[in-house]
């Protein structure tokens, strides 16, 4: 079919590129032209070769690579090409939420007290949502909040990762410019030129509490850590309730739903309850040596409800504190008016914490930027 009509083929390829662009591929003018050239260069333009060639030209990531075959089938037709069911954005989010609900094993992770909160709309919605406590956002506004969270966190974590570089480091002689300068003096490097060292990015270690008491917050906090980890090259993320699990690898997916799927497999057998002290000891025994350095930023996201021994928690925190640059504790309960860090665990932890801040709303998470820069 393709070989018979080379002129028609070119038009079809252009059409396909437009089709791919509509589906979110980066198939601009350059890619279209390149695809045409590629198709012309091929020794045989059977369907398979064409598919491979166009795939090489138009894809630029694993995600696109995986979607391509379906796309190709859909456009070029063929009896075995089945029509893909359009996945709605809302449906995807719903899936993410339910996966997460499964992971934290709380069964009821939906927002409580729906009737207590007033519905808001229009421009004020944006402002209100930014300040709203995650646990009090009505179901109907959850989607808007998640979209906003995605966008804002992306921006914030990107800025953060760029700022958290050590610029004050020793200098070394810049031979190139020194020699350039010395020519006029017969090659004697009288005047030395210096160059600064390349800034290094700080290391980030995040421990996220996913016990029952945190279930109203942990979904958003996970989104937050996903965004952070994306922009920090040296980041490690762990979740804990009664024991600790390394989720760095699972989170290293471009898309959160993929990451969630991996997480749900890791999560098998997790239970409620919090043993921060025990989890931290596990961290110190197994991971501390390879993740903690003197420029590490250590972040704990937890409400501090610990069913373990406070003294043990304090001892483990002290050990961590000695090895890191900054220890940050984010507590969603901090925003409550009557909250005082009197739970035994929290009280024992406070002496070792450099930054103790709230983490109940988008604004408070975005505020973190300010804390971390200091």
């Amino acid at each position: 079919m393709l070989e018979e009509d080379p002129g028609g083929l070119a038009a079809r390829i252009v059409g396909f590129c437009r089709f791919a662009r509509e589906k979110g591929f980066g198939a601009g003018v350059t890619e279209t032209l390149d695809s045409l050239t590629a198709a012309r260069t091929l020794p045989s333009t059977d369907r398979e070769a064409l598919q491979f060639a166009l795939r090489s030209e138009l894809c630029s990531s694993k995600e696109e690579w995986d979607r391509f075959e379906e796309l190709f089938e859909e456009f070029w037709g063929g009896n075995h090409g089945r029509k893909p069911r359009p996945r709605l954005e809302a449906q995807r989010r719903q899936e993410e939420r339910s996966t997460w609900a499964l992971i934290v094993n709380s069964g009821n992770s939906g927002p409580r007290a729906e009737e207590e909160t007033k519905r808001v709309s229009g421009a004020s919605l944006h402002e209100r949502l930014r300040r709203a406590d995650f646990s009090e956002v009505p179901q109907s506004d959850q989607e808007a909040l998640e979209r906003m969270a995605e966008r804002l966190m992306k921006r914030a974590s990107f800025r953060l990762s760029r700022r958290l570089t050590n610029s004050e480091s020793e200098t070394q002689v810049d031979l190139r410019r020194t020699i350039h300068r010395s020519i006029g003096r017969g090659g004697d490097p009288v005047e030395l030129r210096y160059k600064g060292k390349k800034p290094q990015q700080a290391r980030l270690v995040i421990l996220l509490d996913i016990s029952g008491s945190m279930s109203l917050y942990s979904f958003f906090l996970l989104r937050f850590t996903h965004a952070l980890q994306k922009h920090f090259r040296k980041a490690s993320t762990f979740v804990f309730s009664t024991s600790l699990v390394d989720i760095t690898g699972a989170l290293r997916r471009e898309h959160l739903p993929d990451a969630m799927k991996r997480l749900s497999r890791l999560a098998a057998g997790w239970t409620g309850g919090t043993k921060i002290g025990k989890s931290l000891r596990e961290f110190n025994e197994r991971y501390a040596r390879r993740t903690l350095t003197s420029d590490t930023l250590f972040m704990i996201l937890s409400d501090g409800w610990d069913t373990g021994e406070p003294a043990a928690l304090a001892a483990e925190l002290a050990a961590i504190k000695r090895r890191v640059k900054k220890l940050v504790w984010l507590n969603p309960l901090l925003a409550l008016d009557d909250y005082e860090p009197v739970t035994q665990g929290m009280a024992a932890a406070l002496p070792y914490v450099d930054v103790f801040a709230a983490a109940h709303s988008l604004d408070s998470l975005l505020d973190l930027e300010k804390h971390l820069m200091r």
Binding site: A38, E48, A49, A53, E57, W65, R176, Q200, R265
Partner: protein
Amino acid sequence: MVRGFQELGYVLDRALATAIYLLIKLGKPLLIEGHAGVGKTEVAKVLARLLGAELIRLQCYEGLDVSSAVYEWNYQKQLLAIKIQERTDETVEEKVKHIFGLDFLLERPLLRSIRAANASPVLLVDEIDRSDEAFEAFLLELLSDFQISVPEMGTLRATYRPYVVLTSNRTRELSDALKRRCLYHWIDYPSLEKETKIVHTRLPQIQVELSTQAVRWVQALRQMDLMKPPGVAETLDCVQALSALGKDRLDREAAEETLGCVSKSAEDTAKIKSEGIEKILSQ
């Protein structure tokens, strides 16, 4: 081409063959992504041997900079030259021109790749995701125009365009600009037949039964959600280890003795053992 690769010990499927064909014909760089140990780097090596071209390799790492990737001036030689020139009547401008000439330039991989004198070399930029954004941006200039600008000298152009292969382990998202300039190919873990074929091609002296068993074993491990799933390189290691130990079949004992070939972290080893080696083997 498939046959050519096969003769050099690389089992090539049609999709990758198409991508390499386009790389040669269109002169576009090829970006290969995939899990560790599936033979990304090998593509460039075999391609170079197939074309009879020189292979120039640049291993990326964090903090890789222009002076170790592109060029550096030979400072000692420059200092000497300045001393020698001291008594001549040349003006400062002439002296500058002299010591910033090609004779004083130390070629690093990227510069070497565009200065090839009689044939296009193969340039392998390995693990590009490990370098930083600044370096990636620099690489763009090279990949789009095949030229390098040296401030003191001007622009150097390639007489023979190198064939460029980039590999990435996806530890970081590469910039759109870079990805748009490249052909893309994703190498997945091979199927059972393909992996068996790879083992046969690479290690023809090993008995079929043993290598098939080893391939099944590794393929089962890949389903286990390990922290570092074994790649094809690990399969080959495992088969070689088995034959070095004089084993003719893979049983529980043999699997345990060679576990270090396929499991590369303490957590994974513990996980495999708790799952039961025998159970995995019998799958």
